[in-house]
């Protein structure tokens, strides 16, 4: 659905079903340079399971207009305001990569909303090397292409995909190209500059789930495992794939999330 939010056209994927704000809502937060399409195989899956689903395109991402947020805190504030605008009562936030930092910050500042937080390929910090930061400013298309290549495991290299006929690289590059050119630069700088992750992680009181990837080169497994140690009572799973878990291992990820959600009932 498309709404006007903070004066800008804002797209919110709902998985092919109408949003019912009285139900428990799953809010998917995309990663750096991504948009709602990084959760193609989660949005419809959970919407058709009966959950209310929202997958917002952050400002300047996907089908959303507006100026990109310039910090993780600004992203969290924007999401918080959106949840208020949509009048949602009970939210489970599911972040991927940068979306995990936004979820941490959202919990730190606005925790009353959250019933649970699910971290996919997450960490409490996502430092970005200077080369990629510079490239995202000078040549965002090239930077996107490099991220898509680094981000995927062997399935990306060899075009192995559970979705018949789809290419991780071809699809991934084009998803990132749908964003406004300045979006990636601000996303990566937001990640790199975020230093409150340890504090934010320790403040989480709600049940958490972390799904990490064995061959993740963007948020390495080592960093993810240190992160989950900071979380109280976190259920952790490790899948054999790269950083783009939602498209590389959709069924396994959906199954883990679904089981976790059932335990929350």
């Amino acid at each position: 659905m498309i709404i006007t939010f903070k004066g800008a056209k804002t797209y919110i994927g709902t998985g092919g079903k109408s949003l019912v704000n009285t139900k428990r809502t799953l809010c998917f937060l995309h990663g750096s340079g991504q948009n709602h399409l990084s959760f193609i195989q989660q949005a419809r899956f959970f919407a058709y399971k009966g959950y209310s689903v929202i997958v917002p395109d952050m400002p300047a991402h996907g089908f959303s207009d507006g100026n990109p947020c310039k910090s993780i805190k600004e992203n969290a504030e924007w999401i918080n305001d959106l949840l208020v605008e949509l009048n949602l009562k009970e939210v489970v936030v599911i972040g991927h990569s940068q979306g995990c930092l936004v979820a941490l910050e959202l919990n730190r500042i606005f925790k009353s909303f959250l019933k649970s937080v699910i971290f996919v390929a997450g960490s409490n910090k996502i430092p970005v090397n200077q080369f990629l930061l510079d490239l995202s400013k000078d040549n965002p298309q090239k930077a996107s292409k490099m991220m898509v290549t680094w981000g995927h495991g062997i399935d990306g290299d060899l075009s192995i995909n559970k979705w018949p006929g789809h290419s991780h690289y071809g699809e991934g590059n084009n998803i990132m190209c749908m964003n406004k050119p300045t979006a990636l630069k601000h996303d990566l700088n937001s990640c790199n500059d975020y230093l409150d992750g340890i504090d934010a992680s320790k403040k989480i009181e709600v049940p958490t789930l972390a799904v990490l990837a064995k061959n993740d080169q963007m948020t390495p497994l080592k960093s993810g495992l240190k992160f989950v140690e900071l979380l109280k009572n976190c259920e952790t799973h490790i899948l054999d794939c790269g950083h783009f878990l939602p498209s590389e291992r959709p069924m396994e990820l959906n199954s883990i999330i679904n089981s976790f959600l059932l335990k929350l009932e």
Binding site: Q41, I160, K162, H166, S167, Y169, G242
Partner: protein, 431 residues
């Protein structure tokens, strides 16, 4: 560790890793119509397009999917769909994008079946086409109307071997938000990847060079993922609510792969031009050696072109890599590895001479295909176009002395010797 493998490696490996259960190195042939569901929930999730997977081979199949993913990787596309023939691919694309009242701009110099589909069949369903010279970007621009939904052409025209200036035409299409759809059968992704030049959708007859051995008919659509289908007035069945799946918007739900998702859900489901898993396997075997074969095809093509140019019995030779070809400069720019392995030539003595030549060669096969590993010949004047007068043939860009040669992989000296037998017969006739 991500490697970003190169073309030759992807030709062999893309779309398949050894099966964990059996260790099968080759892509298994999943000769099955259907797939057991583990639960009603799983079945529903496949029907609802919640996740990827297979439910019925008319829609998708694991062997066919390996081929599709290999093609997507080789073309640098977002997604691909394989089907029963190149013409099925063409029809699937047109019917997915166009509806009653829509308009197409197409090259006037194309394969006869492509022209027939657009000139005679689609108008019965309210989709009209204006045909224009593919070498004239201005004419293409002028032909575009408010209801034009796609521009279509062949990178290397069949049989005239005209070369489309893809980057120029892509610029025009892009400025008007109209997808550029190209038949890239004659170039294959080895010689040229149209998405790098701004095209949006590629169709292939896999039967030809990609399969390469004349043993299986197949077609494919590769979606560049680089087209914005978001205009709901212009592309209502892709971006607006579709009758399938409770009003799904393919553009919103699948973004770069919207077109392929729509074709799978509508075209494959309703028309059913599926590719058999066994044919998909055969076609993939061909693709494994595509880079090697294309190098040799081009090497042999250049050798036989020189031979024909210098032969006393040959009136004219047409190939885009020859400086005499009107599109030679465009070919050099967009097809630097070579412009395919079809050569057209005219034999001194007209229609009868062509007939005598074709009936006298032994090694080259006289048949109606191209892109085989073996050298193939046809003389349109005495076969496919024998019912037409010389004047009528000229109107279609053909001459009655024309031989269409699909250069194979044989030792080229043997082909030259074989051709000498044909020329000897022509000489005898001319006396």
């Amino acid at each position: 560790m991500s490697e970003n493998y190169k073309f030759d490696t992807l030709s062999l490996h893309a779309g398949h890793i050894p099966d964990k259960e059996t260790g099968s190195r080759a892509v298994p042939i999943y000769q099955t119509t259907s797939y057991v569901f583990n639960s009603t929930e799983e079945a529903a999730s496949l029907y609802n397009m919640e996740v990827g997977g297979h439910l019925y081979t008319r829609i998708s199949n694991p062997t066919v999917a390996a081929l599709e993913q290999r093609l997507a990787a080789l073309e640098g596309g977002a997604s691909a769909l394989a089907c029963s023939s190149g013409m099925a691919a063409m029809h699937l694309v047109v019917s997915a994008i166009c509806s009653n009242g829509d308009h197409i701009v197409a090259s006037s110099k194309m394969y006869g079946a492509n022209i027939n589909l657009l000139q005679h069949t689609m108008p019965r369903f309210g989709v009209k086409t204006d045909f224009v010279n593919p070498n004239d970007p201005d004419a293409i621009e002028r032909a575009i109307k408010p209801n034009t939904k796609l521009v279509f052409g062949e990178v290397i025209g069949n049989p005239g071997l005209d070369i489309m200036d893809v980057p120029e035409i892509a610029k025009i299409c892009n400025s008007k938000n109209i997808p550029l759809v190209l038949d890239a059968t004659f170039n294959t992704p080895y010689l040229m990847q149209p998405f790098k030049h701004g095209a949006n959708i590629v169709v292939h007859s896999l039967t030809k060079w990609l399969g390469g051995h004349g043993i299986a008919i197949g077609g494919a659509i590769v979606n560049g993922g680089n087209f914005d289908w978001g205009d709901k007035d212009k592309f209502p069945t892709i971006s607006g609510p579709h009758f399938a799946l409770g009003g799904i918007s393919f553009w919103e739900e699948f973004g770069p792969s919207a077109l392929i998702a729509k074709i799978r859900a509508e075209g494959m489901y309703n028309f059913g031009p599926s590719l058999s898993p066994t044919n998909a396997f055969h076609l993939m075997q061909g693709i494994e050696t595509l880079p090697l074969r294309m190098k040799k095809h081009i090497e042999n093509t250049h050798s036989i072109s020189d031979f024909l140019v210098n032969h006393e019995m040959v009136e004219w030779v047409k190939h885009p890599d020859l400086e005499t070809h009107p599109d030679h400069q465009v070919a050099k720019r967009i097809l630097p590895k070579g412009s395919g392995s079809i050569v057209a030539f005219g034999i001194k003595g007209g229609r009868e001479a062509g007939k005598a030549f074709i009936e006298s060669v032994q090694l080259a096969s006289h048949l109606a295909n191209v892109g085989d590993a073996k050298t193939l010949l046809i003389h349109p004047g005495s076969t496919t176009h024998s019912h037409l007068s010389s004047e009528a043939m000229k109107e279609g860009g053909l001459t009655d002395d024309m031989i269409r040669l699909s250069v194979g992989l044989e030792d080229i000296d043997d082909i030259k010797k074989d051709f000498e037998k044909g020329f000897k017969a022509v000489k005898k006739l001319n006396k």
